[in-house]
Amino acid sequence: MLDRRIFREIDWPTILLMVLMAIIGIFFVYSAIYYQASQYVWRQVLWLGVSLLALFVLLMIDYKVLLNFAFPFYVFMNVLLILLLILGTRVANTRSWLVIGPFRFQPSELTKLAVILLLARLFSDYKEDVMSFRAFLLSSGLVGLPFILIAIQPDLGTAITFLPVLLGAYILAGLPKKYAAIILIVAFLVGFFGWNYMLKDYQKKRIETLLMPGQDPRGAGYQLQQSRIAIGSGGLTGKGYHKGTQSQLRFLPARHTDFILAVIGEDLGFLGILGIFIVYFIFLYRLFSVSQLSPDRAGVYLAFLSAMLIGCQFLINVMMIVGLFPITGIPIPFLSYGGSSLLTNVLLVGLVANVRMRRFVYVRF
């Protein structure tokens, strides 16, 4: 039943913060690639419109109803990922794009939504204080499947963003120490075999670069070096909008996507970065606080896992562009250019807002 009262509870401040960030993002996408900007800018504006529309549709459906469709949705997304691996055309050397007419979409992004819904569904009835081994295996497997499917596309960056979701589930469900030990051992083994047999050379390079930047200034380290130069040379107040030489002279790689914050850092300096961080802090605070307002377990999980995903993507990106994390191709939510990622992140916020809207149980008399 749709109760009209709940619409008074739409979380406008959070949505406005999100739209504000998306608009800032579009401004800097324009600054970063002005010479071909109109195409990108209009596409991103269009995606923003589509995403907001989807957001309001999502808000109308009670998250408890959504949870009932979590499993079919999850299965559908995974089948799509498998089909993409078999039939998908290669775009930029990966099989991660679903091409429909002029639009390209990455199913791996929406899969995040499916995984969060399914985990929330799974743990909504789980009332133990500590995670059981079965729950541990099941949750790990459910995240592990799309992780692997996406990692072999290959799109390791997107795959890695699933890990904060799993980590969030472990935390909330209460992971015992011995399982944590198992994870470490598995991680070590995966790391060992992955390093020797699975990782592509460029991926190894990126990790090596993180450990020893400046070793290979023309290869992977080059991106990091240029990004740091951009941010560092921004100083306190920056070089001015559209005036950063690092981005204008195209030294910065992936200026409109993964490194958009470096453009902001160069153009607006530390004050600009500080502004973005403050906006993000308020935004994340509001997301996380919903997990404390939720009326039921599923709501806590939904809000918390969504907030985790957005928060960790942000954190990884801001660490990555200054060399505190390997360069893995994780965009910064809302600011970076990219339609699929924007839609997914907006829908994640929609999930959180959905939970917040329905935090009161209205009792009929």
């Binding site: 009332k127 204080d129 969030g168 935390i171 909330l172 209460g174 200034p217 023309r218 240029q226 740091r228 130069i229 951009a230 941010i231 560092g232 040379s233 921004g234 100083g235 306190l236 030489t245 690092q246 002279l249 195209r250 030294f251 850092g265 160069e266 300096g269 530390f270 970065i273 500080l274 961080f277 993000y280 802090f281 994340l284 605070y285 996380f288 997990s291 404390q292 939720s294 009326p295 039921d296 377990r297 806590v300 999980y301 918390f304 907030a307 985790m308 928060g311 960790c312 954190l315 801001v318 660490m319 200054v322 505190l324 149980v361 009792v363």
Partner: protein, 602 residues
Amino acid sequence: MAKIYEDLSLIIKRSRLTFIILVIVIFLVMAFYWKIQIFDYKKYLKMSEANYLRSLPSPAPRGLIYDRQKIILADNRPSFKVSMLKQSLKNSYQTIERVSGLLNLRPDELKARTERYSWLQSFEPVVIKDNLKLDEVAVIEGRKEEFPELRLQVEPRRYYPFGQTAAHVLGYLQEVSAEEIKGSSQRKWRGGEMVGKAALEKQYDDYLTGQDGQLIETVDSLGRSMGEVNRIEPVKGKDLILSIDLDLQKRAEELLQGKEGAIVVLDPGTGECLVWASSPSYDPNRFISRFSPDEWMSIMNDPAGPLENRVIRGLYSPGSIFKIVTALTALQTGLISERTAFFCSGSINLYGKDFTCWFKPGHGNLDLAEAIKNSCNIYFYQLGRSLNIDIIANYARSLGLGKITGVDMPGEKEGLVPSTDWKRKSQGEAWYPGETISVAIGQGPVLVTPLQIAAMTACLANRGIKVKPRLTLVDNQTELKREKADLRPEIFEKVIEGMWRSVNDGGTGHGAYQPGFDICGKTGSTQVISREQAEKMVQRGKEALKTHSWFSGFAPRYQPQIVVTILVEFGGLGGQTAAPMAGEIFKAYREKYVRQTNLQGN
């Protein structure tokens, strides 16, 4: 109210804790940004300043130069050059040593060369050797790993397939000088760019020069290329078609072989020059290399002056050729008619001084046509005695003497037509009537260039219509500016009659005679040489008393097609040297351009 909320306190606590940890990490990251942007700001700013764009020129081929038959006179050939980033040379004695060893250059030469380009930005490449031989290219290419600072490039290089032929028409290219770069605001020069330095290569430099292409690439702080940003393809320069006829040009240069002098052949109808020869000549291919200062100096210092374009820069006394001007002036002013006769006894006393005719026994009684035919001095002394120098000067100027012809060739000299004004200004003295006598026969201070004489002859052939000499083909007859000399048209025929007799009736120009071709001409021999000139000649082991030898004429008499003007320095009498050479040119022209049926016509 029933309890409708389940107990979620544990997971809410876990959630809050996670958020706190996340915030702590975010704060730490924030601190790292603070370090980079505030603490290390200067360091990164410097690095960002070192990251800049550089544009490498891709030189556009120069336009080709053709003769009137579309034979290529100036071509382009691919040539290898090697350049070096300037910053890698800076302060690095070692680099200079290594590179000069590789390229067989003297280290000091290489150093001087790089210092020459101190005004260039540090990342711009300096050409250090060009026109490389293939084995040198192979060596550089093979060892490029050891010499990353070297850059091998192909550039189109000017090539003159006929060497010395028409060198004074074409000119040559040389590296643009620092002064030129600083002086020019419109054009952006590159270091080591080749630019037209003489003759048509200079005159039409902008026309022939294409639009250089550009490769814009980003460079990092070490000057290494970081990838192409933009590329603009070069646009070749426009081609130039000359009015020169290579066959006649070659013939003329053959005739001048071993002599110093000039030959101009032009079409009196259009002013198009078919021949433009100046001897001695030089091979413009030798100038194109950027690195032969010794060779350059030896050509510059050659006393014969091979670089001097005698056609427009050689100033000579016109000698008896000037008698045409005197005759026209006398006819125009009504001083004489064509029937007016004077008696030549071999000498005459004027103003208390004896003036002699070149023909000692004397010509006897002669009219104007006979006087021109025999180039009788006495007749023209008589005219000079009655004419005012300023009137002669006026008509001389009207015929194109004493001022540039306006030919499309740089560096043309004006020459000199003396007048009372001129003498007062230059020497502060009044003009003596006796000097007019000398001027009347083309001696005295009169100075002309061979091209001025050719242009004057064309005006004569056109019966008073002047044309501007030119070296490019006329595409559109209507665009030709035809100016009329301030002389009555009918008087020209009277002078031409004398010139016709001079060649065809056993006159001084007899040597130019060609059966079946109605040639009219006038010889000249300059008798007066300055003391300075005589000394120069003696130094060079020449006979000081020999005169310059002139011939200028046109053919056919009616509807003239060709004007030939020849000057041979120290060639002796005009009739002996220049006239027979002119005859050869007329002959070559006739064989090529005039239908053979005319041969039987006479």
